[in-house]
Symmetry: C2
Subunit: 512 residues, 2 copies
């Protein structure tokens, strides 16, 4: 008998518990390469769970390369897990060396961000991603820009630069902010390696281990990973998905107030425009209240504006930074969603004293941001290509958003709901309670559809019956077909569940 | 009377104490814009110090824009200090906002790296820098490479990439390592935003506040800044400059052993090849002993190899990583010294389990390194441009090193000594005891010469009578002229000192 202990009352799905425990047995050496493990029916019987639970766990372990089935012989451990799923091996295998794992500062609570992305089978429809489709990149224009700057400013670009950022890029950005109604001085702007680094620098400048940060739940997994790495306590504030289109959506500001009253919070991290993953936009009244709370509790706001320029319909709402008269907001942003994610160029806007500190932190972190990309982006903006490209992409995204909404409207079973974002790159689906999007993904993948299970987005109290559908990188035809396939699967799982609830005990869903 | 208290017994030069106290009085508001401060002679009398001490302090404050002399009227505080020298202002000046300074995690011990670089007057000879001269950049070849990769791989480059690094660059690097006798697998290599980020990631992965790291003293200011920011205790291990050319040079391994015996050290940070700032290369016997110590005490070694490919004469010595059979070394490196500092592309090599962890840390730090620069550098290597450029630059640097040595040999007064590096970009000068390179710099700047005072390189026990002379970015003629001017100044200061010691008490030098 394998030493497996599943907890039906846990919020972690049973198949996930089983998968993780089996993986741990391999890593601890209790299961070795060549060991035979029980057939799924047999193990399900031993554990008192539904056979599907075991089958799902086995399927994931197989896709990780950890186990393999041999027809007529059974299922066997096949040694080291495949690279992208493996935690650090226990021994470094070069004899006499040190145990590195014991030397790490800690086991860093965060999950690998790349690990959360499911394998995408060839030809599958990837609703997983929220990024620009690469077939839309204006390569020729971009190449013209890089050529021009290397021709005119090559020596300056390739030489060591300023931590502040490449001056022509800062000028272009300040012009862009001005055209959007925001006056920013050069001392209030710091160029970073994308939005991820901007958030990381803010954390480095403000946080010590044990500090607390209030953030949206669900929220951006990259931010959750930074906080885990910095050993900071996330104080989760609920986000209400706009499923009813009533307009009362986004961060629960009442809940935030309670959190601020009960905790010493170092800052509030929020994505008010087209929040990832729900796509909601915080109404202006809530923004004003949030700023009042920030001033009252003297807790700064860190606003992630990465999706704000991707408003696809409806009226724009002023950013927190634009509404902020007291200088209490640090705004982080980048070109990842509006132009090219492969260039790591982003920025922070904030009061001078905060930017001065962030500049110092940035300097010891990596001296400065790559100048070839900074200069090329400055030229891309200067020639008007950025504005034109953004306008073009917004049309593309709007059409895709509408195609997805139409398909969902047409095919989704009644028991489900989803958000209706006015911008961004994804929407958020809530399945009937008890459903596990992680399990659904296993079946969806077999049908050529992948999406992101909602649990990756929660820093606390994950709701396994949620998932994110990205629409930005899939064309309308594939969206229609993909959503239909997804909905067919969902309906069939719903029917199974109804039958299962009547006919079979213990039912898998009841246990989950 | 101003509330000034100088400590003659301190290792901090008197003029620095005075400068800093005056600056603090301005920032605290005790001195305000328009306030008149005493003439240098008057203040010197009040404080019982030499007039030059006050004059030097005033000169620095004036160059910071903090004070200004008016002919016939005296010297006045002139308000806010100039940008690059200013600490964060006390108030953010936008009314009703929060006091950001009170919110920072701490006051981060590190000095701004850019602040340590003296202002370079127009036309001055800059021995300050240790970087490639930009007139040597092969711009046309570089542009051909960026064009080619944007043409062939544009979509891939501009799309979100892998935290690991851009695969073609990793392949080229692994080929380079192989040609240098080192077998590195892809899983043992992580691309970073330059060497600075590589060290920062190692610190993030291994260190908690309060931990200790053994490092060279003097050593790289960028590393000292990272440790200060991470609230880590630097355990300084002496570096013996090779002034006698006996070969017994570099890190004092006996002292390191004592440090390891007496402290819980998290890792040893060392630049064995052409150590910055002294230019020394650790002999192979010391390298082997260092690795033995690392294994015995189970303390990893972090080897900074950024200057190693810049061996300009003599026989190469295997890197610690190449000598390391136990897998106890993490090697960090970049293209900043061998090619283009403005592209932030570097790497870490280490055991798989360490690299796996560093990859996770890197992912939450900035997702991945900029791909345009990674791809262009891969192409630059693939076409053989990198090898050719490096060979060409080594000739340039060797000729400049020799020109500097020749000039020093010819003009330096007897009481001084300097190192004779076989590579790198700088050498290290030791002035007679009691001399302060910071004071010397003030006079040198007036004569059109700038260098880096040694104190910036010490994490502990600074020796103010040291300085770094960079030779990489100054041509031979200017080196000869610049060193002659520098030596003339030094001789004249020595003479003044001799006269001063005979004629005047309290003598400035004696107090320092």
């Amino acid at each position: 008998m394998l030493p497996l202990h599943l907890q039906p009352e846990s919020h972690i799905p049973l198949y996930v518990q089983l998968r993780d425990q089996l993986r741990a047995l391999v890593h601890s050496g209790e299961l070795r390469s060549g060991d035979r493990i029980p057939a799924s029916r047999e193990l399900a019987g031993q554990l008192g769970v539904h056979r599907t639970t075991v089958a799902n766990a086995y399927a994931e372990l197989e896709s990780e390369g950890l186990i393999q089935g041999h027809v007529g012989r059974g299922t066997f451990i096949c040694g080291a897990p495949a690279k992208q799923f493996s935690p650090p091996p226990r021994s470094n295998g070069n004899g006499g060396g040190m145990r590195w794992e014991a030397l790490f500062a800690d086991d860093r609570g965060e999950e690998s961000l790349s690990r959360m992305m499911p394998n995408i089978p060839p030809g599958a429809t990837a609703f997983t991603v929220a990024r620009p489709p690469d077939e839309s990149f204006p390569l020729e224009e971009f190449r013209r820009c890089s050529n021009a700057v290397l021709g005119h400013e090559g020596r300056r670009i390739l030489q060591l630069g300023s931590t502040d950022g490449y001056e022509p890029l800062k000028r272009e950005l300040i012009g862009l902010f001005r055209s959007e109604g925001m006056n920013v001085r050069s001392e209030q702007l710091l160029i970073t390696d994308g939005c991820q680094q901007a958030i990381d620098l803010v954390c480095k400048a403000f946080l010590r281990p044990g500090d607390s940060v209030a953030l949206e739940n669900p929220g951006y997994p990259g931010a959750i990973a930074i906080l885990a790495g910095a050993r900071v306590r996330p104080l989760a504030v609920g986000v209400e998905p706009d499923v009813t289109r009533t307009g009362h959506v986004g961060l629960d500001v009442d809940a935030l107030e309670t959190v601020l009253m009960q905790n010493r919070v170092k800052f509030i991290l929020i994505t008010p425009d087209f929040h990832n993953p729900t796509g909601t936009a915080l109404p202006v009244a809530s923004r004003r209240r949030l700023l009042e709370l920030s001033a009252r509790f003297q807790v700064p706001v860190v606003e992630d504006g990465i999706y704000a320029r991707l408003r696809l319909r409806g009226n724009p709402i002023l950013s927190l930074k634009a509404l902020d008269t007291a200088g209490n907001v640090i705004h982080v942003d980048s070109f990842s969603k509006t132009a090219f994610p492969g260039l790591r160029v982003g920025w922070c806007i904030g009061p001078e004293s905060a930017i001065e500190r962030l500049r110092l932190v940035k300097q010891s972190t990596d001296l400065h941001t790559d100048q070839l990309s900074q200069a090329t982006m400055a030229e891309f903006m200067h020639r008007g290509y950025f504005t034109r490209h953004l306008a073009k992409m917004k049309k593309v995204y709007r059409s895709r958003l509408e195609a997805m909404e139409e398909a969902l409207e047409k095919h989704m079973p009644e028991e489900t709901s989803w958000t209706h974002p006015d911008g961004g790159m994804s929407l958020w689906v809530t399945l009937p309670a008890g459903f596990d999007a992680g399990e659904l993904l296993i079946h969806a993948r077999e049908r050529g559809i992948v999406f992101l299970p909602g649990r990756h987005f929660y820093s606390q109290h994950p709701r396994p019956n949620t998932l994110r559908l990205g629409f930005s990188a899939v064309d309308e035809k594939r969206i229609e077909r993909g959503i239909q396939t997804f909905c067919d699967l969902l309906k069939s799982e719903l029917r199974k569940r109804q039958r299962g609830a009547r006919s079979e005990l213990p039912a898998r869903v009841a246990l989950v």
